[in-house]
């Protein structure tokens, strides 16, 4: 089996699963309880928070636990809207954000908020110039993803940060769900960013757990009200086994990050260079600094993406049509649409997404299968 769908989800790491299991068995107290079981659970919770903060280079009290990327995005966007609506109702985001962001914004629009959706160029990147132009006196939030989940474009966060330094009151959010462990942490955790959201299952932690970084001085409203956990900002009994497992997963992810990223980049480059030799292949992801090392998006003209996914699946090779979230809805990719790729081509798009466990041998095998499929489909189409 070859698993090339790591942007959809990664496989939980064995050591991480062990942590989940052991913590469930041994440290099952509620961190809010006063007795020693509670105290013990609280100790582990805070150690996990500290470890995550250390790995991200921030303070422990800036780390909040969520149920994942979707909650994190919803929280930052709606929490900012609730907290800051008296100062303004204008929000800026890119047009290629994840649905967790776009649909949150759509809800806010019904409540009278105004959203400027920044266009992207043919490569899927937003332009800092467009962003600077879009800023208004009533802008309260800028939300731009770190890495596009469909084509892998890395957005110019440092340039955006530079612009936003002139507007210190605007909340600046980075959805970094696809960006963690890919060698671009210094871009994501830049010194102007206020909120960053992560999801555990994208880096071999369990599903249903995520991280929101919030800079100390920033305020947002809670979406989960209740028992007052997470400093009153995110109530609900802490998912301790998942939190500890995520802390471990992040530690493992960060070990030898550079080597792992280089390996993924090398595999991606190999696949890219092989694939573009085929005349009917259109490549949307590039091999350079502005693209993440693990995502490759392309089409075989005239063959529906779904067909290719199933053809590979028959050989136990797992890939995806653009994003997993939209793949069952038979809608064309939002990112490719925004990149002004004609609909006929965009419906053919498929995505290969790597992680540090993938090998060059798998890539060779992938290309062998691809070659057979290509010729089979080319024959039928012609």
């Amino acid at each position: 089996m070859i698993y090339f769908d790591n942007s959809a989800t990664t496989k939980i790491a064995p050591a991480v699963l062990t942590t989940y299991e052991q913590v469930s068995k041994k440290v099952w107290g509620n961190p809010s309880s006063l007795h020693d079981l509670g105290e013990q659970a609280y100790g582990l919770l805070e150690q996990s928070r500290q470890q995550i903060a250390d790995l991200l280079g921030v303070q422990a009290d800036e780390i909040y636990f969520t149920s994942g990327g979707t909650e994190g995005d919803n929280w930052v966007i709606k929490g900012t809207a609730i907290e800051k609506h008296i100062y303004g109702k204008h929000i800026i985001a890119s047009s290629v954000e994840h649905p967790a962001v776009l649909n949150s914004l759509a809800q806010l629009e019904k409540l009278g908020f105004e959203v400027t959706y920044l266009p992207v160029d043919q490569t899927g990147h937003v332009s800092p110039v467009d962003l600077a132009k879009a800023i208004r006196s009533d802008t309260i939030l800028v939300s731009i993803m770190a890495v596009n989940n469909e084509v892998g474009a890395i957005q110019p966060q440092l340039e955006i940060a530079e612009i936003l330094k002139k507007y210190p009151k605007i909340h600046y959010h980075i959805d970094a769900v696809q960006g963690i462990g890919k060698g671009i942490q210094s871009m994501i955790m830049n010194d102007r960013v206020d909120f960053v959201t992560f999801s555990g299952h994208k880096f071999h932690a369990p599903r249903g757990i995520g991280i929101m970084y919030k800079r100390r001085v920033r305020k947002i409203a809670p979406l989960m009200s209740g028992g007052g956990q997470e400093k009153n900002l995110r109530s609900g009994t802490e998912n301790l086994p998942a939190i500890a497992a995520m802390a471990r997963a992040l530690r493992l992810l960060k070990e030898n990050e550079t080597e792992k990223v280089q390996q993924q980049a090398a595999i991606k480059k190999y696949l890219h260079d092989q694939l573009i030799k085929y005349p009917k292949v259109t490549m949307f992801s590039q091999v350079d600094q502005t693209f993440a090392p693990h995502i490759l998006c392309f089409t075989i003209d005239g063959v529906r993406g779904e067909t290719i996914v199933h053809a590979f699946e028959a050989q136990q090779i797992y890939i995806s049509t653009t994003s997993a979230c939209s793949s069952k809805k038979h809608v064309i990719s939002g990112t490719l649409h925004a990149m002004k790729i004609p609909e006929k081509i965009a419906t053919s798009a498929i995505r290969v997404s790597l992680d540090e466990n993938n090998t060059m041998a798998e890539a060779h095998q992938f290309m062998q299968v691809f070659d057979q499929l290509y010729h089979r489909f080319a024959k039928i189409n012609s």
Binding site: E39, G43, Q47, A244
Partner: protein
């Protein structure tokens, strides 16, 4: 520098006449206790100096501990070399070089305990001074008040060089001034009172009242960890925990609110006095500071002191809160003390205690209680443990997590 030995100079001891030997022995004992976890270290106490042989132990860690031991005036880390002039010259130069800044002056100060050595002190001073002058351009000799003093000590078993002197904690060796009991609650004041008592050489034992379930295990652990901090100043300390629940419940139930605090304190003192008698302690120490809380007025002290004729000593009685906090921070107890666990002093605190309780009233309310029965049962439940320097109590379960993360 890889030091081989630390030479310790005694503090006030020189004035102690015939008791000198017992002071020195006690200091050596305390030093060994404080360094209990450095197994290879050997402490040798002689009449005028103490020598701590490191045998590879980390000299900085050992010196950090030594700096807190009462009875040590100052100490010098030193290096032992063979009785061979060439190695003495090399090491002397290296030690001076380590501290030398342009423009500095120095002198060599030789002592001989071995008078058979081939050079006398002046010849040794000349030889080493000359060698350093020749090999370290810019340095100058100055006899009065030089920047650097290199001490050279010639002994039968080698030549010892040391280039700096580090201030110790002063005071008297703990245990040379008799035994006392400290009433330790877990707050800021009592550990500071304990520190000041230790400084004057008192051998302290801790008395801690705990009232489960009104006070938590963590409150007990906090008092134990504070004790471990104090043990850094003189060696391990006995920790006596006294069950106080029944007394607190009875007093709460049967005594008018205004006198609750007074009667409760009378019980604490009575228990402390009974323990002192059993354990041959000569005084009781506590952290009371005049006027700080309602129970710390002179009237209140009169009403409380009534139950014993032992001296009740209050080292922080006239310090301001800020001054107490300053000491607590210096001795490393402050952060522990402010951890928010209920202790036996706060748990039944009435909203409006009498600031001027009357002794006759206190006696009268108390006479309605079965004092001797309550005392007997509390004393029967006492538990005594030995607490070592810097032992941990609050965080013992923490390391287990490393396997998860």
């Amino acid at each position: 520098m890889e030091y081989t030995e630390i030479m310790v100079r005694y503090g006030e001891l020189s004035t102690k006449g015939k008791n000198r030997r017992s002071f020195i022995d006690r200091l050596a004992f305390n030093t060994r206790e404080v360094l209990h976890d450095f197994e290879q270290v050997i402490v040798k106490a002689q009449r005028d100096r103490m020598h701590i042989q490191l045998h590879g132990a980390d000299s900085q860690q050992v010196m950090d501990r030594l700096q807190q031991v009462f009875g040590i005036q100052n100490f010098s880390p030193s290096i032992r070399v063979e009785r061979d002039l060439e190695s003495v010259k090399q090491t002397a130069l290296a030690m001076i070089k380590e501290q030398f800044q342009p423009g500095m002056t120095f002198k060599i100060n030789t002592r001989r305990s071995d008078h058979d050595f081939k050079l006398d002190t002046n010849q040794m001073n000349d030889l080493l001074g000359g060698y350093i002058l020749d090999n370290l351009p810019g340095i100058q000799v100055k006899m009065k008040d030089p920047d650097l003093i290199l001490r050279v000590e010639i002994r039968k078993n080698g030549i010892f060089l040391s280039g700096k002197t580090i201030q110790g904690a002063g005071g008297l060796p703990v245990g040379t001034a008799g035994k006392g009991l400290l009433m330790i609650s877990g707050g800021i004041d009592s550990p500071v009172a304990g520190y000041l008592a230790l400084k004057r050489g008192v051998d302290l034992e801790m008395v801690h009242f705990f009232s489960p379930p009104y006070t938590s295990e963590q409150a007990l652990h906090k008092a134990q960890e504070l004790t471990a901090k104090l043990a850094l100043f003189g060696g391990s300390i006995k920790f006596i925990q006294v069950p106080f629940t029944e007394i607190q419940e009875t007093v709460k139930h049967d005594v008018p609110e205004g006198y609750l605090m007074t009667v409760q304190r009378r019980f604490m003192l009575r228990l402390a006095a009974a323990i002192a008698q059993k354990r041959d302690a000569l005084a009781i120490f506590n952290g009371e500071s005049l006027g700080q809380v309602a129970s710390q007025t002179l009237e209140s002290m009169v009403a409380i002191n009534d139950v014993t004729s032992l001296p009740i000593l209050r080292p922080v009685v006239s310090l301001d809160k800020n001054e107490i906090i300053e000491i607590a921070e210096k001795i490393g107890t402050f952060d522990l003390s402010v951890m928010p666990f209920e202790d036996c002093c706060t748990i039944f605190a009435p909203p409006a205690p009498k600031t001027k309780p009357r002794l006759d009233r206190a006696r009268e309310y108390e006479s309605r209680l079965d004092v001797s029965g309550l005392m007997e049962r509390a004393l029967a439940g006492i538990k005594i443990t030995e607490i070592k320097a810097d032992e941990k109590f609050l965080t013992e379960e923490q390391p287990a997590f490393s396997e998860f993360l």
